[in-house]
Symmetry: C2
Subunit: 157 residues, 2 copies
């Protein structure tokens, strides 16, 4: 495979939410969003209401191109620096977001979902159903990840 | 947002496996692969060994462009047709594969993983750590999905 290959994606819809950008991280656990799938892609939704949860892939269209491949998680210098692939930040070389969301309802080409931590206006790239193969009963995570959940009001990922 | 926007991705590595293409679907539950991250992206792996499981995003570089947005799952006409977004096939408008894998080991820029159902030579797009927010204890799936696991030798997704 040539390293020079480029892969081009086209949005299939757009994500809407009333949550302001700067509150998305804090409210990500319970925020509700609407996913609008454009008409030409709506046939692809047939049967999606049979699932309780979905993966949503979206374009981090407002993220800056990363200049470094390591960073302190969420900028907190009390935590050890991590590689970008060892955290779920917006600074990956390919700017794709991935969220596991709860599907609350489907109305034509509009899906109502919970826990989608994407800004209003985010381009939708793909939807995939979440099934039992995606469940890891007790995933191991680093110490810094676990410890950060002990901090009051620190509900950032 | 303009519908005409295009998002361009560049591979960050390549996936290697000894499993022939036509055996990947059948062996996906336990097959072992090596992910080679190219040198210029390896700093991004710092700390990734703290996780037991990862999401792997890859390019479905050999999938044909889809001509329809509905299909019988795995071509089985005894199952009702599903929209492409309601199944995990290779026929989505944007050809990205997503797998939850078990991380078995890290050696420099090479990661050994289990359960990555990608063909040998597949371009790697992104790695993201799997954490407790990604666990859905009992996801609901459609009847056709559950029933297909009762078929002997049908271990396709």
């Amino acid at each position: 495979m040539s390293r020079d290959v480029r892969i081009e994606l086209q949005p299939i819809g757009v994500i809407h939410t009333d949550v302001p950008d700067d509150e998305v991280a804090r409210r990500r656990r319970d925020m509700v969003s609407t996913i609008e799938v454009w008409p030409e892609f709506r046939d692809g939704l047939l049967g999606i209401d049979g699932y309780s949860h979905l993966f949503v892939l979206f374009a981090l269209h407002r993220a800056d191109a990363p200049t470094r491949l390591t960073a302190h998680p969420r900028g907190d210098t009390s935590r050890p620096p991590q590689g970008v692939f060892a955290a779920r930040g917006r600074n990956h070389p390919n700017g794709l977001g991935l969220a596991v969301v709860e599907l609350l309802g489907v109305d034509g080409g509009r899906l109502t979902v919970r826990k989608l931590d994407a800004f209003d206006g985010t381009p939708l790239i793909d939807l995939k159903p979440y099934d039992s193969y995606d469940v890891v009963a007790a995933p191991r995570v680093p110490d810094w990840w676990r410890s950060r959940t002990l901090t009051p009001r620190d509900d950032l990922r």
